[in-house]
Symmetry: D2
Subunit: 269 residues, 4 copies
């Protein structure tokens, strides 16, 4: 069977256009922003800072998948509004997570739709985003194999949408020193099997601030096409995932290093 995601029957690399930004095919792209969108001011502040540091795309969660129904669930539609305002004011494309296909109409001005790890096999959602032509960042599920990730991408592509970015974000193992176990072999294997761009999310993979920098370096070296890094203007006060977020200075420092490494690899930041 010839899968649409397979490198065998296709061009070696897919380049995905997000406004002026090119993803894949020798370009290296950093996505950054807070776990949760909290206020208009926060988003404005973070967007300006991470853009200045070299991030090309702004992330921020409006609808948060949380284990407990009593945890903060995100600000919802109001947060989407803040995100779009920030996009327009700061001139930076934005990505945010969709929770189900009935929300698609809210994502008109969102540049990249994120399908989260818990929804990697929410097949109706995959088909629905496959019927749009918006770029989709598809995260690997915590217990999903590389092959299953590719088949979930195939669900999207078989509906017509070829703009799929894969994202490794750690799998569940017995090891508890990190929240998940980042599987960087998966990046190398995916680059062998598919023409789609492959990103790495070291923040969710590790769950710990001090691991974000070394895992980012390793992700660049192993061949990833981009990084997705959580940042916050004040991680201690973050409503969600503060312990894994970089503050804006830490991100600036990391990006100086990232630039050198991307250049070393012969890629374009």
């Amino acid at each position: 069977m010839k899968f649409i995601h397979s490198r065998e029957n296709n061009a070696p690399y897919t380049v995905i256009n997000v406004g002026d930004i090119k993803i894949g095919g020798g370009n290296f792209t950093v996505i950054s922003g807070p776990c949760s969108i909290e206020t208009r001011e926060q988003m404005n502040l973070i967007a300006k800072s991470v853009k200045k540091s070299g991030a090309k795309i702004l992330r921020g969660g409006a609808f948060k998948p949380r284990t407990s129904p009593y945890s903060f669930q995100g600000l919802g539609e109001e947060a989407l509004l803040f995100l779009i305002e920030t996009k327009e004011r700061c001139n930076i494309p934005v990505i945010t997570e969709i929770m189900n296909q009935t929300q698609l109409n809210l994502f008109d001005k969102v540049d990249i739709i994120q399908v989260g790890a818990r929804n990697m096999q929410n097949f109706d959602l995959l088909k629905a985003v496959g019927k749009t032509n918006k770029p989709v960042l598809l995260k690997r599920g915590m217990a999903n194999t590389i092959e299953e990730l590719l088949m979930s991408a195939e669900y999207i592509m078989s509906e017509g949408n070829k703009n799929v970015i894969l994202c490794e974000r750690g799998i569940r193992t017995f090891e508890k020193a990190s929240r998940n176990t980042l599987d960087l072999s998966a990046v190398a294997i995916l680059k062998e099997k598919t023409h789609l761009p492959v990103f790495v999310d070291p923040s969710h993979a590790s769950g710990i601030n001090f691991l974000v920098a070394p895992l980012s370096k390793a992700a660049i070296a192993v061949g990833a096409d981009g990084l997705m890094i959580e940042t916050h203007n004040n991680p201690q006060a973050a409503l969600c995932d503060g312990e894994q977020s970089l503050d804006l200075n830490e991100f600036e420092e990391l990006m100086k290093d990232v630039k050198k490494r991307v250049e070393f690899e012969g890629m374009i930041l």
Copy 2:
């Protein structure tokens, strides 16, 4: 925090009524039927047979979550029609899996809504089924902890629907001799932590026909409130999961043994 699912602040056992059938609280209930609903005749044949053998509830998949978009996806709404017809003709309550909350209106005559393993943390779906008063069978995700399963039940219950049945169906581990690793400790732990009924699905847990009987026996002994067992009139020709299905004679034989074991445990079949 006092969770609604917790045994600490509640009656020790919840009994869920499905028509005349009682689930939990010393009752042992067997759900059986095919992975996929294929034809009207098949459902009629299987329903009569498994009911005669002692199953109290009929299962059958209309919408099938499949890894590949090119695999058989279930017959969809037509299959629901066959299921409801069979329910009425054979006078047996039915359970089938929902894929997303927009399908809820199709589930009016379905007696128990199944939320599958891949949707265990589809929180919008959980909230939606929580707003109905229909019994929900919630399957543990392949990489989800016992605590996460309870918190997903809490999503449903916190919306008002207290009729939640939990179902252990195997977790992902390094072992490949069985498709998943059935975690029977989880059943004993759940019975300690929650008043909700706990079922076991040995068919999906093992993925192999010959393991269904020994795992069913173990599930009864460890304290489960019920079993969910895949059966098919002709497993070799099944459109889905034939290798783990029991044929109708095997199921009849197993049920003879199940009856003796349930009686031994002082439970009511």
Copy 3:
């Protein structure tokens, strides 16, 4: 290849003789005793009690494999002395764990040599115990497959010693509510693949006192040939693994239930 452990080319069941006691082939055998041998008086007390309750073999650790070099390592040779004295005074066969092949000469009067989970692939030790004719209880490693367990048994058998008892004791997974995940499917699979007796150790599998009884029941139902259960006269004061040990009354109660279940299965206790 015809493996010596395989049921295909051999009698369906191996019966292992330990003094008057028969293991396997329809016999159900309970091994019990403390994690660590602490004093002569303790062993005497426990041996009498567990024997009266129905245990056929006494366990007790002399050399303890501990994660930290600073944890209690067992009393060593003195403990072996206490164990043998207890064996002779109470007329009960004994099992204890060997740590390496240079200790073999100390095990002359030990009835069953235990090879622990951490040594399941200590191939030189396997070969060494394979050159004796003493029964060996071989525990599955925390990350070892069923096939690897069988191949480790093959190491022992290929040296001439056919008296191998396999023991499932839980594998490492992401779930942390129990110390390990007891894999009862493994018991059913092993009974299909090999003629060797298969035991279950619910104490080490779960690491929690309240799980020992339900997992013991499940192990009998799934087809195990025996159980290995940690007991202690005063679990709160145990030098090792107290939180998973049953006290002597709890064990007596459990054994009353075990007897009924073994009889139900048509086995001989």
Copy 4:
């Protein structure tokens, strides 16, 4: 408790001397050679080639831990002889795996003793090598946590031998596209917790030739102090693990890249 392995109470970095070679503390060291020592000629050929390419230490297995007793078990003492001859002829330090403490006398001229993954918690072996002053390369077990690895190092160090090199070589997970899942987060965590050098073995971690180069690059970037890479003059004909070995040209190419990357990191090859 102040552990000897802990960075808190010690110098930030341990440098281990192997002849003229320094391991740790800003030095980057590559170990290379075949899985199994096959012939004198083979070892001579490989040693010259990998040394020329930049490897500082020669590896080769004399005693091979194999799952099946019927697989090739290594040439044993004869292989040790070949290894020592090659060491002296080619003037390159050598490392080989010990299987149990009774072999210690055979390791007099071996420069680094390897304790394999299956022996990581063979505590008697750890204590025995702890009583020597030879450098020990301690591999992480397939199901062992980072903390357990450190405590196994502590076993060696608490006996007096401070020359311990840790080695991450992949853990067992549900993913089967690579043989094991290389846990590069573990390297970053270990560098935070301990002053001991940390190596990575991408060959055993991945089990696949094409993954060795990308994982080597990632290991350098994440902060490892060295690599252990399997090479063979003719991988197709290797008696063991040929599918993961690099041929000598592939290794030469990889080392050109490794040199640039080590320099980029400000380390000394």
